[in-house]
Amino acid sequence: MKKSLAGYFVAGALLATLATGCTSRPNAEELKQLEDLKAEITSLERQIAAKQSEAAALQKAIADKQAQLAQCEKEKALVQERLKGM
């Protein structure tokens, strides 16, 4: 009984070895290609995040300037009115 169990085990190990040994695997250069691609994706994601922040800052600056311009135009009208009364 013990003998047959050991035999099965050896046969299984041999089969597994044969099965994996026959599968084709990427070589080192191909693996590097994949790693480079992943690094490029990470870099692109960072650049996009930075640009999104820049766009948000610009939108705020634009909103501020629009408010300044509106205030200035209002002030111009007021000053013209006051100067008439001087």
């Binding site: 695997r25 990427p26 996009i48 999104q52 766009a55």
Partner: protein, 255 residues
């Protein structure tokens, strides 16, 4: 025999573990699948980056155009009031000076304020002058000047109220020993008898002869201050008249 069995078992175990580890490594198919997937993702990200860069460029242009518009509007505003930065600085300094004067006058007691009432008029003149400047039409100055005028008006009001509040009702000579000299001497009035001409001159409509005041007369008390030229002149005139009146009476007495 036993040894042989053990060697076979160990070798089988090593082969099994080795093959299991190899099975966990990526296969070519898996690599290809990941390459395809990541390439698509990279291309999508590149496209996104291009799009957001275009958006940022557009926003930068918009921001620059707005900055130019704001500058132009401010320049137009300064052209409207006909002033440059130096003129504006000088104008603001004048307003600071007025503020400082008003602050100083506001801290004075009513009596001291009365003594320096001329300064209120001076500040009013300064304020009238700045109001003529076109820069005063700018809101930041317009509101400030308005506030200064309000504060100055409040000071004038305080002065008027203080003047009205300072009165003295004359009592009797018998009971209160009230004459202008004694009234001026009272601690609550001037605490200085020599300032009696101030009360006289402040009540010229009620007091024709400073030696004669009547019970119940309500005299206004001008705030404490040195005698003015007019008050001193009035005192000299009073003493001269008094001497002149005494001389004829004195002459017969010598005889």
């Amino acid at each position: 025999m036993k040894l042989m069995k053990s060697v076979i078992l160990v070798a089988a175990l090593v082969l099994f573990v080795g093959s299991t580890a190899a099975a966990q490594e990526m296969t070519k198919d898996e690599w290809q699948k990941q390459m395809t997937e990541f390439t698509a993702k990279r291309n999508q990200l590149k496209s996104n980056l291009t799009a957001i860069q275009a958006e940022v460029d557009k926003l930068k242009k918009e921001d620059a155009a707005l900055a130019a518009a704001v500058k132009k509007c401010n320049d137009d505003l300064m052209a409207l009031v006909g002033a440059d930065a130096a003129a504006e600085r000088a104008f603001a300094a004048k307003l600071d000076e007025i503020d400082a004067k008003i602050n100083e006058l506001s801290r004075l007691s009513n009596q001291d304020l009365w003594a320096r009432k001329g300064e209120i008029d001076d500040v009013q003149k300064m304020l009238d002058e700045v109001k003529k400047n076109k820069l005063s039409a700018l809101s930041k100055y317009y509101e400030r000047i308005k506030e200064q005028q309000n504060r100055l008006d409040a000071l004038k009001k305080t002065l008027e109220t203080a003047q009205l509040a300072m009165t003295y009702t004359v009592g009797t000579w018998a009971k209160d020993r009230d004459c202008l000299w004694n009234i001026a001497k009272k601690p609550k009035i001037y605490d200085n008898a020599f300032l009696w001409p101030k009360i006289w001159q402040g009540n010229k409509d009620k007091i024709k002869n400073p030696d004669v005041i009547k019970k119940g007369q309500v005299l206004s008390i001008p705030p404490k201050a040195d005698l003015t030229k007019e008050e001193k002149a009035a005192v000299r005139s009073y003493w001269n008249k008094k001497k002149a009146a005494e001389q004829p009476a004195a002459a017969p007495a010598k005889q």
